[in-house]
């Protein structure tokens, strides 16, 4: 499955040897005293990408963003934009703009002045500033709010002013620090699409920091999953979800079950895993594995089917008892306790009304999945 996904995006710029990256981090380390926020990090970001940095708080994603904006300087290593080393260039001399989490709108200036602030610093003429500000106001549909002060605007409107202000100077790279964190769910979802359309139509490079994995999955072209100052994996949302390279990534993005076992045989990409209870499970691996090595079968709950009758013609079958059911409207998650005490999560779409659900608490059920649904993780 992972191969098909990989093949589909083979034409993307990060896989093209002839395209030079817009931004390069080369062995960048950032330390605050004894604490290492960024640990020897190397990564490339290409033009017109919508690049997401995702990770738990304290993983270094905000530090990375601040390094790019110029508010922090790397302890060692270098950061290049378009081939030029900007590691020690102050923020006001970089063609990078940032949209702040708090929006950081200047409270003593109206919307127009806020948006035109960056252009004024460049010493542009009044007419030029006016024209560009009007363009920006039209872009974010705030024409009639030009003379309002930030405190007279709603949260969503402020967010758009902040976006317009950071775009006014046509930056090579726009940094977005949790840009939608302060909006409610409905508005956030709508704004995600607006951001994507904007990024595409303006042809700009966006880099977003977020802790909301759904947001990262929706908006970005590639996601970098970070943990403790290290990038664990950089890939498209689909690869990150379907073919995570480690248990950390797999667990961080979405929900997952892990089943530990030993590799008993491998035929091409098809691996047979033996669990401690003697069960044989079949799973998928891109890489050859050592026979006898300890690995984890990683499988998403929505790929595990649950049934009251024993399924026929399936290799991967486990029996258990329903411990708990989490009903979330569109789907239900069944927590099934196996004989060995471990719990496996299985998710089913509620295509029928709740009253017609046939599986309930303490029912004996069978869990089953296809040969390629589970993947092997050795890390």
């Amino acid at each position: 499955m992972a191969t098909e996904v990989l093949d589909n995006i083979a034409h993307e710029s990060w896989n093209d040897q002839n395209v030079a990256p817009l931004i390069r981090f080369v062995n960048v380390t950032k330390k605050y005293g004894d604490f290492t926020a960024i640990d020897n990090l190397t990564l490339d970001i290409y033009e017109k990408e919508f690049y997401a940095l995702l990770g738990p708080s304290g993983c270094g994603k905000t530090t990375l963003l601040r390094l790019l904006a110029g508010f922090e300087e790397p302890t060692s290593g270098s950061i290049l934009i378009g081939g030029e080393d900007i590691s020690h260039i102050p923020p006001n001399k970089r063609s990078v703009n940032m949209m702040f989490q708090s929006y950081a709108l200047f409270p003593h200036m109206n919307v127009e002045k806020n948006i035109g602030f960056g252009l004024k610093q460049e010493g542009r003429s009044k007419e030029e500033i006016k024209q560009r500000v009007d363009e920006m106001l039209a872009l974010v549909q705030l024409e009639e709010f030009a003379t309002r002060k930030p405190h007279q605007l709603s949260g969503g409107q402020r967010q758009r002013v902040a976006l317009a202000r950071s775009l006014a100077k046509k930056p090579k790279l726009l940094l977005l620090d949790e840009p939608l964190g302060a909006l409610d769910k409905k508005l956030r979802e709508r704004t995600q699409f607006e951001l994507m359309n904007l990024q595409e139509s303006l042809g700009l490079t966006f880099m977003i920091v977020t802790h909301d994995q759904e947001e990262a999955m929706t908006v970005s072209s590639r996601i970098a999953i970070m943990d403790k100052g290290i990038v664990k994996q950089v890939d498209t949302p689909a690869v990150i979800y379907e073919a995570p390279n480690s248990r950390y990534v797999s667990d961080f993005i979405g929900d997952v079950n892990f089943i530990e076992g030993i590799v008993s045989s491998q035929d091409n990409k098809k691996v047979v895993l033996k669990t401690a209870d003697g069960e044989s499970l079949i799973l998928h691996s891109e890489t050859p594995l050592d026979i006898g090595a300890i690995i984890w079968l990683s499988i998403r709950p929505e790929k595990v089917k649950v049934s009251k009758t024993k399924p026929e013609n399936v290799n991967n079958v486990l029996q258990g008892k329903v411990d708990d059911i989490a009903y979330s409207g569109n789907v239900s998650t069944y927590y099934v306790r196996l004989a060995n005490g471990n719990t496996v999560k299985a998710q089913a779409t509620n295509s029928r009304r709740l009253s017609a659900r046939e599986i309930t608490w303490e029912d004996d059920v069978w869990l089953y999945w296809t040969d390629t649904a589970g993947i092997a993780l050795s890390e």
Binding site: A104, G118, Q152, R165
Partner: protein
Amino acid sequence: MNSHRFSWFNATSLTLGFVFLYLPILLLIIFSFNSSKLVTVWGGFSTKWYVSLFQNESFMNAAFVTLKVGLVSATIATVLGTLAALVMTRAGKFRGRTLFSGMIYSPLVMPEVITGLSLLLLFVALGWDRGFWTITLAHITFSMCFVAVVVSSRLITFDRSLEEAAKDLGCTPINAFLQVTLPIILPSVVAAWLLAFTLSIDDLVIASFTSGPGATTLPMKIYSQVRLGLNPEINALSTLMIIAVSVGVIVASILAKRAEAKQGLD
């Protein structure tokens, strides 16, 4: 919901409080319009003491010196105090930070007599002629710490990302301060200036130590006059000072309110 009611207890305590605070001042104002030369006996309404006050050259000179010292010292103290506040809230940890902040705040708790005496010793040791500039310097020294306290309390709650946004949009650090930080903290800076000005106008002890011939401030003048016996002219002068200070405070608070309403909360 009783707590919002104006009970008799609240009314009484408020009245008593105000009487305690303002009765002496009210009496002073009333007696400044007394036609009798005896300060404690009412002899009918008159404004003659105001007329004679404006004809009294030594009083007018003292008033002029006080005003000049106040304006100059408050302005310089505001600049220095604001810079000190910036360092204390922005510079993070640096060697000697605790010592630095302790030294800035120490004049707050230092007895005025000691501040005055030490400054006198310093000026004598340096061989400076005492006068307008020595008083001004002394006032800068002690009012600066009040400015630092007022401004730093505003800076602590100031959203740093506003400055970062300004730099991000092309401002040098100085420009970011002038175009973004200063306009936003301006009400606090103005309040600090007014406080410094009031402290300077008010000061008797330090001015006595650091003044010289030809540079007598109003409080010094009043104090020396009072020692020679009460004088209705002093009442008139004090009334004028009260009016000046009240107008200043009211104007400043209106300005601050307006600025806040205009900007909203940041």
